[in-house]
């Protein structure tokens, strides 16, 4: 058994499998599934100009996000990650089945916390609100990103590198979690079997996460495993029909407005706050936080 679990795996094989799951999934599952969603929208007479323009805006925000991600990737991953890996890491883990599975599970756990922080600190929500601002819920919404969505994850993946996991494996695992998450953005799939719903994040659980209904706020942060939410007290099942979007709707399909509206709202909030200390606190306090005697914002 230990021989099987610890059998060394070549980089070329790892890259091959992640290429199939991470890169090619766009071609063989995500795009075809989105086409099916469009057909469903047409069949239900919900395919309208707003939905099409919203989907286009989603893809454009992804392009902008990707530029930031690539720039950061070159700077952070090749420099900071490797530097940390060589100077502040536990003994380096070799590449075998156990370490790959462990890395994916821990990347998922890191994603849970990173996602929770995105919702629960001011600057996090300023960028992540973009993802939640669509009133629709389909595969294209998974690609709707804010300008700083690539930054916060770095702080949460560095501990994985410090635990001895290879930086590139960490990166590939993070993308794997994101790809899994992408597949959850659909209304087509209802609830799955109980064991699956208990362990894994599913479209039903993720619909709850995107709900603007009060009981659904800040719930179901999971990437792959919903057990993290169950374990850490943020799980909520889908009961009431989900109303997608945020409490203060954006009402725009302009990609520039979509991409920057969270940051713009955050700066407007900062203008209303008196004192440098309070302004700085607004970055790390919850999105609905305001100093005493000021207006209280809502987080979703």
């Amino acid at each position: 058994m230990i021989e099987f679990l610890s059998k060394k795996i070549d980089w070329i094989d790892i890259e091959y499998w992640f290429y199939i799951f991470n890169d090619l999934s766009l071609l063989y599952i995500i795009v075809p599934f989105f086409v099916v969603e469009l057909i469903r929208y047409a069949f239900l007479k919900r395919l309208n100009k707003d939905l099409v323009l919203d989907s286009i805006a989603n893809v454009i925000t992804f392009g902008a996000f990707l530029i930031i991600e690539i720039t950061l990737g070159i700077l952070a991953i090749t420099k900071v990650y490797f530097w940390i890996h060589h100077h502040f890491s536990l003994p380096h883990l070799e590449l075998n089945l156990t370490t790959i599975i462990a890395c994916i599970i821990l990347a998922d756990f890191a994603y849970y916390w990173e996602h929770r922080m995105m919702h629960r600190i001011g600057i996090g929500w300023a960028t992540h609100t973009v993802h939640h601002s669509s009133p629709h819920f389909n595969m294209s919404v998974a690609y709707r990103f804010g300008p700083f969505d690539a930054i916060l994850p770095i702080a949460f993946s560095l501990p994985l590198v410090m635990l001895g996991f290879d930086p590139i494996l960490v990166l590939l695992s993070e993308v794997f979690v994101q790809v899994f998450q992408t597949l959850l953005h659909t209304e087509i799939i209802g609830k799955l079997t109980k064991p699956v719903e208990y362990i894994f994040n599913t479209p039903s659980h993720h619909r709850v996460h995107h709900g603007s209904n009060r009981q659904y706020w800040d719930k179901n942060y999971a990437g792959i495993f919903i057990i993290w939410d169950r374990l850490l007290g943020t799980f909520e099942p889908e009961v009431e029909k989900v109303v997608y979007g945020i409490s203060e709707p954006l009402n725009s399909v302009n990609p520039v407005k979509v991409f920057f509206h969270g940051i713009a709202r955050f700066f407007r909030k900062l203008k209303q706050i008196n004192g440098i200390k309070n302004k700085l606190l607004a970055f790390i306090k919850p999105p609905d936080w305001m100093p005493k005697n000021d207006t209280i914002y809502e987080s979703k």
């Binding site: 536990l90 003994p91 075998n96 821990l106 756990f109 635990l163 001895g164 374990l231």
Partner: protein, 168 residues
């Protein structure tokens, strides 16, 4: 949920999963079968090592001295290696450096290449490369062109390396 509970549960998850990964790696490296490991010693007692293997005429011709030419920013010249059979593996050690004009300098005997599998035509191994002052062990493949030449290639993330080894 209290912050202390969140912290405790999170640490438990991390310790359990990362600890498991380290334990399996540790167990495999210290197992008597030593599934993946290769000998890391930098100096070798050839007589002692050679006594442990059986002769295989199909593969043993790789044993001997091999020279590799480099024309890179960091080093322009040649390096002479000696491949020795140790157990059922072949290891290559640096013997000497030769600069562009042919001046030779004895090298510290360091294991640079460990051939973990070789069938007389193709092989796999672990090659030691230096990049920006750091030493990395990377997987490599060996393809024999003829009895006196083989090509060693490796892929380190996106970087592809390729060397031609000539028998001396």
């Amino acid at each position: 949920m209290k912050n202390s509970t969140l912290l405790f549960r999170s640490l438990l998850v991390i310790v359990f999963i990362a600890g498991g990964a380290h334990l399996v790696t540790y167990a495999s490296q210290n197992s008597p079968q030593n599934f993946n490991s290769y000998d890391d010693t930098t100096s070798v007692n050839s007589a002692e090592k050679t006594s442990q293997y059986t002769i295989n005429n199909e593969t043993d011709y790789i044993v001997g001295k091999w020279i590799v030419k480099y024309n890179e920013k960091e080093f322009k010249g040649s390096i002479l290696y000696e491949i020795q059979k140790e157990g059922n593996k072949f290891n290559a050690y640096t013997v000497s450096y030769l600069d562009k004009v042919g001046h030779s300098e004895k090298a510290k005997k360091t294991k640079t290449l460990s051939i973990t599998s070789f069938d007389g035509y193709k092989g796999k191994g672990i090659y030691e490369i230096e990049y920006e002052g750091e030493i990395y062990d990377v997987d490599c493949t060996i393809d024999m062109v003829d009895e006196n030449t083989f090509q060693l290639s490796y892929n380190y993330y996106e970087y592809n390396g390729f060397e031609t080894w000539k028998k001396q």
